[in-house]
């Protein structure tokens, strides 16, 4: 289940829906990321996120497929906010379900690394006196690179 949403993300409601689908999973991990109030620019008033459908969804689907070959997962959900959002609002929600907690943790971690570094999004921060398009951070590339050497954790 992959969704790009222009509406606010309600992580607890998404977790409830996820639980209903995967009853008896054994282990469920969720990640939710919130828009940060401060950046290098200063105080962020609005974050603007562009996606390119269906290329963005296709990329996420591919990352989910890879995760499913690496770990035994009974269910995966990815919901990503697009458009304009305010600090504190949830920008991304990922849920993974597996019989084994290690698999659920690692798959969620892997998907978040994909979403934060390689996913097809363009991001603009708007502060009181500037607007800036954000380029990928070096730290993010390092996180994603962790998965390329066959490392499982």
């Amino acid at each position: 289940m992959i969704t790009l949403s222009a509406q606010p993300i309600d992580a607890p409601a998404l977790l409830r829906a996820f639980e209903n689908v995967v009853a008896d999973a054994g282990a469920i991990v969720t990640f939710s990321g919130q828009v940060r109030p401060a950046s290098t620019l200063g105080d962020v008033q609005t974050l603007h996120l562009q996606a390119y459908s269906p290329m963005t969804e296709r990329g996420i689907e591919q990352a989910v497929s890879i995760a499913k070959t690496r770990w035994v997962l009974s269910q995966v959900s990815v919901v990503h906010r697009i458009g304009d959002m305010k600090p504190g609002e949830t920008i991304v929600f990922v849920a993974t379900a597996s019989k084994h907690r290690r698999a659920a943790f690692e798959a969620a971690d892997y998907l978040m690394d994909y979403l934060k570094t390689e996913a097809v999004f363009w991001k603009k921060e708007v502060s009181s006196d500037a607007e800036i398009w954000i380029e990928p951070r070096t730290e993010d590339y390092k996180d994603a690179a962790r998965w390329r050497e066959g490392k499982a954790s």
């Binding site: 990321g33 996120l49 562009q50 390119y52 269906p54 290329m55 990503h80 906010r81 920008i91 991304v92 979403l115 934060k116 570094t117 390689e118 996913a119 097809v120 999004f121 363009w122 991001k123 603009k124 398009w133 954000i134 380029e135 990928p136 993010d140």
Partner: protein, 82 residues
């Protein structure tokens, strides 16, 4: 008419996130489109950077690829994740 999409900072350079254009007959490949648009926007090479990728009908295209049959062309600076 071809639909052209500009993403990220290219939205600012183009002054729009999308437009419908009749491409001149001389623009036959993705690379030729870059050059033509870069001049048109006086973008000073911003569209020529190899990190700016082009997608034709939602598939990544190389500069040598022909644009024939292109309904939608996207110009995409490096993606930054969400």
């Amino acid at each position: 008419m071809t639909r052209i999409l500009y993403f990220g900072r290219l939205t600012d350079i183009a002054g729009t996130s999308e437009e419908n254009l009749d491409l001149p007959a001389s623009v036959e490949t993705a690379g030729e489109l870059r050059t033509w648009l870069d001049l048109r926007f006086e973008a000073d090479g911003a569209l020529l950077e190899p990190t700016v990728r082009i997608a034709v009908n939602n598939e990544i295209a190389f500069d040598a690829d022909a644009l024939s049959g292109a309904d939608e062309i996207a110009l995409m600076p490096p993606v930054g994740g969400g």
